[in-house]
């Protein structure tokens, strides 16, 4: 396995389903930060066969909501002074505010400039959310 320098501080997003790493990279806007970011893809994994992994050497806060939507199975490790000090797993958020957009072509939010649309989790398995305005079901990423 490639050895990327050991992280002194920051966040390691582990157990990302292979292929979702870049999606997370984009959604967290990691391109816009000046800190060191490493995206590893297709790492051999016992549990998952292959996984992606992201290391961010930063003090910034991560918006967990978006991670839960893209890949609720990831683990997030927080590192300080070279030591792991917190490890969390994610679940799908019950309510999502301002991250998703409604895919119903008849929904008013497609025509008016609506900020911060609220979505309510309706089906955990299908990752379906209900739009607060039109009640249509939407998923955050398109099912392939």
């Amino acid at each position: 396995m490639i050895n990327v320098s050991k992280l002194k501080k920051g966040i390691i997003i582990d157990h990302i389903e292979a292929g979702h790493g870049f999606e997370i990279y984009k959604e967290l806007h990691l391109n816009d930060i000046d800190d060191v970011v490493v995206l590893l893809k297709n790492i051999p994994s016992k549990k998952m066969k292959q996984k992606d992994l992201i290391k961010i050497e930063t003090d910034m806060q991560i918006d967990m909501t978006v991670l839960g939507l893209i890949d609720p199975n990831v683990t997030i490790n927080f590192v300080k002074n070279g030591e792991l000090y917190k490890k969390i797993s994610l679940t799908l958020p019950k309510v999502v505010n301002g991250i998703m957009t409604c895919k119903n072509p008849r929904c008013i939010t497609q025509y008016e400039d609506v900020k911060e649309i609220k979505f309510f989790l309706v089906n955990e398995d299908k990752k379906q959310y209900r739009c607060e305005y039109c009640d249509a079901y939407t998923t955050f990423i398109d099912e392939e």
């Binding site: 119903n104 929904c107 008013i108 008016e112």
Partner: protein, 308 residues
């Protein structure tokens, strides 16, 4: 308290709140004169972003019969809407002049969106695309109450386009909150009740069938609906499904003597005109109750019913 609240979908109100609207509607029906000035000095904004003469007349007649006044439009091309003004700006402006607003719009979710811009002015959803039309549901409930005594303990047959019918979805969701309601869903397989509605019901509370003849004798209420042409890509398919159920005298023979036939109107051909004379056909009375229930709703949201 309903004063100052919005009605975007029937679920916005508790059953006891709906009940209080029904009771006020009863009082208004018993003494329309007594309520003819309760909205004096109040202004209703009637915002119809798509034409719907029936619904608009019902609301405007309701407000006028309460002694209130109306401003508004029924053709957005003649209003500032066509100049690209946002809904938020329109509502904020309207609120400067009006006490209550009724909105009809072709896009789903519009009424909910608009209600976020109104500070104190109650918003009533008069239909937002295929989404909700709560005053139709209130109309249906008042009709059931008037003819059957209450909304509890009925076998309710719902027949026609159960897939796209928003009126039906709202009614079924709302009636399921009452006691002892059993549904019989009657539709061609292509137009069955969608899963997202069935999932909200107790599986023991409904049955599905394609045959109206087989079940009509078990019903206390038969709610008919039309099949809408615009839902179909092929004209052939539309014509076939449109003629699937036609309620006529012969079918009515198999029904209970006190069953009522309801329909949100306008009908196409799903109820033969020969049924109109049958005392069990209550769909024209339904339209009248629609106005009374809107009177009660407006008076409640404005908090003026005690001005009587």
């Amino acid at each position: 308290m309903l004063k100052g609240r919005h009605l975007i979908e029937p679920g916005d109100f508790q059953l006891n709140e709906i009940e209080s609207i029904m009771q006020l509607a009863d009082n208004i029906i018993a003494d329309p004169e007594g309520y003819s000035l309760v909205c004096k000095g109040k202004l209703l904004a009637s915002l119809f972003y798509e034409p719907s003469t029936r619904t608009r007349f019902s609301f405007e007649a309701a407000m006028l019969r309460l002694g209130g006044e109306i401003i508004g439009f029924d053709d957005p091309n003649n209003s500032s809407v066509s100049k690209g003004e946002s809904l938020g700006d329109t509502i904020r402006t309207i609120e400067c002049y009006s006490d209550i607003a009724v909105i009809r719009h072709p896009r789903e979710g519009t009424a909910r969106l608009v209600s976020k811009f109104a500070n104190e002015m109650p918003i009533i959803n008069a239909g937002d695309g295929g989404h909700e039309h709560p005053t139709q549901t209130l109309t249906d409930l008042l009709t059931i109450r008037k003819f059957k005594g209450s909304c509890d303990n009925h076998v309710v047959g719902v027949c026609g386009d159960l897939l796209f019918g928003r009126t039906i979805h709202s009614l079924v969701k709302t009636l399921s909150r009452y006691q002892g309601i059993r549904f019989v869903f009657i539709s061609p397989t292509e137009l069955k009740m969608p899963a997202h509605i069935l999932n909200q019901l107790d599986p023991k509370s409904y049955q599905e069938t394609t045959s109206l003849d087989e079940v009509i004798n078990s019903l206390d209420i038969l709610y008919m609906s039309r099949v809408q042409r615009e839902r179909f890509v092929s004209e052939e398919e539309y014509l076939r499904l449109k003629n699937y159920y036609i309620l006529d005298k012969k079918k009515m023979k198999g029904a209970k003597p006190d069953m009522i036939v309801m329909h949100p109107l306008p009908r196409v051909n799903e109820i033969a005109t020969e049924v109109d004379a049958d005392p069990r056909a209550v769909y024209f009375a339904q339209a009248k109750y629609g106005m009374y229930v809107r009177m009660a709703l407006i008076a409640k949201l404005l908090g003026v019913e005690d001005r009587k």
